[in-house]
């Protein structure tokens, strides 16, 4: 009752409406706005304030402590554009995103398809596939460091299968370090892809699959022409998550290779940390963070638009 009267009072206090549009917008004013306002101010205000503050710092040459930071305008951004390590991080992020997304999608889809058919002990398999997702990277990283060490278990396994010639210092070489990081990431996140695809496939109309069967479609055909388009929404969501995850990735490359060797596994996240904390170039790090934000927004927009177009076409 109190809620309604406040809303009514609000409506009456507003000036006379302009053309029909004004009237419509007033009626759409959510009644609950007053109640969520505190939480809204806190979360949105805090986030947007922090983003704005980061943008301001990005125009300073500051070590984080000095009470008199030097204002340098866009100089940080110009230096970033000429920074070969920055472009390396972009390159690594793109490669990382493409490879991990493709592999995770393929593996997740295959597992989901396999476990939708009649399999004994399906629950056990689901748990095994999903466990890596809930393991903390701080715990898995040292284990993988040990596994991929020159005298680690991975090389031992290769030698056991007679592939000893492939044994090499996986983490100590620029050529293979990134591959290891990607492998660990795929191991960690395939479970999530699997779970989402499993749920999405449950939504596909059974009659479609039966019709395909009757028409003589084999497993592979069904997968490509019915299941894959049917889970398009999930694929799009995973693409956006994967893209933003690739931009944000920090714990695995930092804990396993510390961005090395020779910046071979440096990502935007690790580079921002390296610049801001050990090197105390807070302004430079802030500029990198703003660029990261812009890239994430652009990626999300592109993927949304592409996804949206597909929906319209259907």
């Amino acid at each position: 009752m109190a809620g309604t009267s406040i809303a009514e009072r609000g409506l009456r206090e507003k000036p006379a409406p302009a053309a029909g549009g004004g009237r419509r917008s007033r009626r759409l004013q959510p009644q609950g706005l007053h109640w969520i306002l505190p939480a809204l101010v806190l979360s949105v205000g805090l986030i947007y304030y922090c983003i704005w503050y980061t943008a301001v710092i990005s125009t300073w040459d500051w070590d984080g402590i000095d009470p008199n930071p030097e204002r340098v305008g866009a100089e940080n951004y110009i230096r970033i554009a000429q920074d070969p390590i920055f472009w390396k991080t972009i390159q690594h992020t793109i490669v990382f995103f493409v490879v991990t997304f493709v592999l995770q999608t393929a593996l997740g889809l295959i597992f989901a398809v396999l476990l939708h058919s009649k399999v004994k002990l399906a629950v056990v398999y689901k748990v095994i596939i999903f466990i890596p997702v809930v393991l903390a990277p701080a715990i898995t990283a040292p284990v993988f460091r040990q596994i991929y060490a020159p005298d680690g278990q991975f090389n031992s396994v290769l030698e056991f299968f007679g592939l000893g010639f492939l044994a090499q210092p996986w983490l100590g070489q620029e050529s293979t370090a990134l591959a290891v990081i990607m492998a660990v990431t795929v191991w960690q996140w395939t479970g999530l892809t699997f779970v989402l695809y499993f749920a999405a496939m449950g939504q596909i109309d059974q009659s479609l699959l039966e019709a395909a069967r009757i028409d003589g479609a084999g497993n592979f055909r069904t997968l490509i022409h019915i299941i894959w388009p049917g889970v398009r929404g999930t694929t799009l969501a995973l693409a956006i998550l994967s893209a933003i995850g690739a931009l944000k990735t920090f714990d695995i490359p930092y804990l396993i290779t510390v961005g090395g060797p020779n910046y071979a596994t440096e990502f935007l996240g690790t580079y921002i940390y390296r610049k801001t904390i050990p090197q105390s170039h807070v302004g430079y790090g802030a500029a990198l963070s703003i660029i990261l934000l812009v890239l994430a927004l652009v990626m999300a927009l592109i993927l949304q638009v592409r996804g949206g177009e597909k929906r319209v076409v259907r």
Binding site: P142, P169, L171, G172, G260, P261
Partner: protein
Amino acid sequence: MQAIANSVEPGFWTKASKGDAKWNEPAMVKTLDIWKQLFSRGIMQEGAIGYQQYPDANNDFLTGKYAMVMMGTWYTQYSTEKAMTAALKAAGVSGAKPFPILPIQFPNVGGNTSEMFGDADYGLSISTKAKDKAAAEAFVTWLTTSQAGQQAVADQLNDVPALKGIEPNFEEINFVDPATQEAPVKDLLAKVAPVTQPRFALLNQDVQDAIFQAAQSTATGKATPEEAANTLQEAAAAAQ
């Protein structure tokens, strides 16, 4: 890198750190070349570039995988039985049996005896917002200037005491094997006292980073010693 440079041309490193010499002078190029040979001649183990001082090198030395490790005077603390046992447990050795470790001089790789170098390990500070500033000040003053406080520091064998004339109380310190360890450790501590050459004090983070870069690029063969030295000089000049 500094140890190698000290053997190639004593005093060069400090000059370059102060800006009185350039980082791409022949002494540094030779230093980088010797460094590179550690890798190209197989003296460093495979994959050493991806190897970290802590935890990799430390744990592998303590678990007996390697016979020698390059550390600093802080490692002397592990020559005692108590500290060695604790370190072995931390490195993950079950049924840890402490073994004696000895300090040795850095090998003469460049023609001269490599002079030792070192800085203050850390500084002690009191927050301006501390509630008991007087008590904190009293404690810090006691720890750093009084005989009792400095004796406590010295007996840990981790840091060399700042107060002159304080020596570790070897009667109380339990070496793993006093017969082999006591003399070299005493010798090291005597040699360390007059060291004046700084380690990090003259180098800001950017220059340290550039040196690290030069080391990595020569070790992986991505750059020749000359190229790496030139890049280092550019970075150091820009960082001033």
